[in-house]
Symmetry: none
Subunit: 195 residues, 4 copies
DNA sequence: AGTTAAGCGAGACGGTACGTCGTGTCTTGTG
DNA sequence: CACAAGACACGACGTACCGTCTCGCTTAACT
């Protein structure tokens, strides 16, 4: 990684301003959380960010691409801490995920992105990345547990992950029931081997 | 004329045509499945249904309200057949649900509706209705199982339902992994007490 | 064609109500004077008149036909009183015309009718009737004056009429200058032979 | 750089395209003459002009405001040539006015504008401008004649103008009698002092 | 120091859909 | 049949948003 292998394209002319990037992403998160994605107008966004619309489109090819990056920028990776205990690991991970959801306007962002992904394969793959990005720590947790013997050798880890995340998504998007630590506990009670 | 439980509001003026309702709903389903919700233009819809735009807006206040009703009209209830066995009941119900998903353009409809529900409380409650409508048969299945003794008396039925539907939603909307009978089997293997 | 001068069409069923005619015409004049012709909606008119829209269209084939009749009903003929003096005759006639204009919402009715007449020959001929209807008394006045010798034998009566009415129309429709008795006097000073 | 009487407002953003203005005005005249004002649809106009509807509405607040400007753009000023003779001056001016009327789709434009002016004060004042714009040359002609002594010192010039234009308007809009050089001659025979 | 290429704010632009309104016709039930 | 009520087809309206474009200015890096 030494030497800056990220090739330096002969960079001529005025370089892009980083403050501008930040201002746009910040304004995006702000606006999305206020009015939802479809309620967010690019004109309004530009005004809020103190930026020209063309400046936005120079960086992102469209609204969804912008939103998805704003989202990812706001939601860093979640480490899968290894406490040596499957249930504790899951509690930590899900607790952290919960906090992210609560602090971010995920509610109506996800649905919009999902729909956008239907007709735009770029968004499609960004969303796929994001999804995998959330599954990976869980997979690590479950695999560690299997190695430890806390889980059967033939445990269906993919389905376990689905069972862990699925109800979260379902509640956030559809039932809008509370998703809190109490719910995490009830969920794990069902999924994990009783003893 | 006895009973007359549906009071007859003295009905003045030309009554709304039922054919028109049907034509609109049918055209909506057709169009949505072809081009998605956001790709469906109300002008085009009106033309397809052989109906004036004003006639549509006389019945539904906006696009989403229409789509959600079209959806519900297309998706009748799913009976929870009582086979006397929890796993079989669930297999039947989920198998049927699977078929509905496949035959209907649910994929990008749900996300759109979920987002629309964020700023429109009418759509909100319609969606809530729909969600409960899908939960009820599962609740019946689980309660029957509990009475039968196939499930612990203190089983957390709400969470069991979340565990049953959640992964479906998650896969359809986010991972886009296959959702078939094989998956149903793996899911049930995890959820249900081994024996 | 002899006898039965008002032919009686075999008249079956419920006869048309005269109150309805009156209510419609009255409401028309009221509305037109408030919001102008193009601002008058037939739905609103029906509501004001306490009448169904179909009832209006049963009597008049369209909005303009209705308006033109409302107008004519409001503006009876103007007699050309014979005072034995040309100037006095004209003063009387124009004074009366003035009063009619002031009491009626002629201002924006005429322009609308004129335009409507461009694409509807029925309105065209109704308007023609109305125009002639206003010219006739003037023609009588001028012809009497000619017989009396107050006007040259070869006086161009058509143009004299144009000169009498034209400025009225021009001022009402375009300049919106005041049109009062003072103006009538100045007009006649120019048109009539000084002595 | 001396003088610089037209201050340059620091001009930000992309300037409005003059070609667009021209295209819109041209298409407006074309369409109006084909189908009349009320027959002209803004969608069709936009298509003809090769322009977006929003671009039209950025310049004119509504249909009438556009039409009136199209009209003014099409009808340049008429110079009041000074031939040293009142009658000849008037003949020239009216002859020219006649030509303009014939070459332009004035017929149903004026009535529509007059009505529109009733509820829109912007159109009102535009129309006023236009009216004055047509009166000015006549005023000059009559004033020159008065200075020359061809007209009494106390001649009522305002009324003379009304007498000159009024019959034109009246004939075009209401009687639809021919308005040609012959008519101009008869008109002037009546208005002007015989010798 | 001057040149050059790109970034940038502002806002015009083409396109497309939206939801509303107005006209004149049609369809009920009631007199 | 007339009538009130109101649904209906048609078609125009003016607005909103998206993503692109053109201005004139600014900001570095390369001569």
């Amino acid at each position: 990684m030494m030497m800056a292998m990220t090739e330096s394209p002969p960079r001529r002319g005025r370089p892009r301003s980083i403050e501008v990037d930040d201002a746009i992403l910040a304004a995006t998160l702000e606006l999305v959380s206020e009015v939802g994605i479809s309620g967010m107008a690019m004109d309004e966004l530009a005004k809020r960010a103190g930026v020209a619309k063309a400046t936005i489109y120079r960086r992102w090819s469209n609204k969804e691409a912008l939103v998805i990056e704003a989202l990812r920028s706001a939601m860093g990776p979640i480490e899968s801490a290894d406490t040596g205990n499957l249930r504790t690991d899951l509690e930590r991970y899900l607790g952290e995920l919960l906090g992210r959801f609560d602090r971010n306007p995920m509610n109506d962002v996800l649905p919009h992105l999902i729909e956008a992904a239907c007709h735009d394969s770029g968004i499609q793959s960004s969303l796929d990345d994001y999804v995998q990005f959330r599954r990976t720590p869980l997979r690590e947790i479950f695999e560690r547990a299997r190695e430890r013997g806390d889980l059967d050798g033939d445990a269906d880890i993919d389905v376990l992950i689905d069972l862990t995340i699925g109800p979260f998504i379902y509640r956030r998007l559809l039932t809008r029931d509370t998703v809190d630590e109490r719910f995490v506990a009830r969920l794990l009670d069902q999924i994990l081997p009783s003893r």
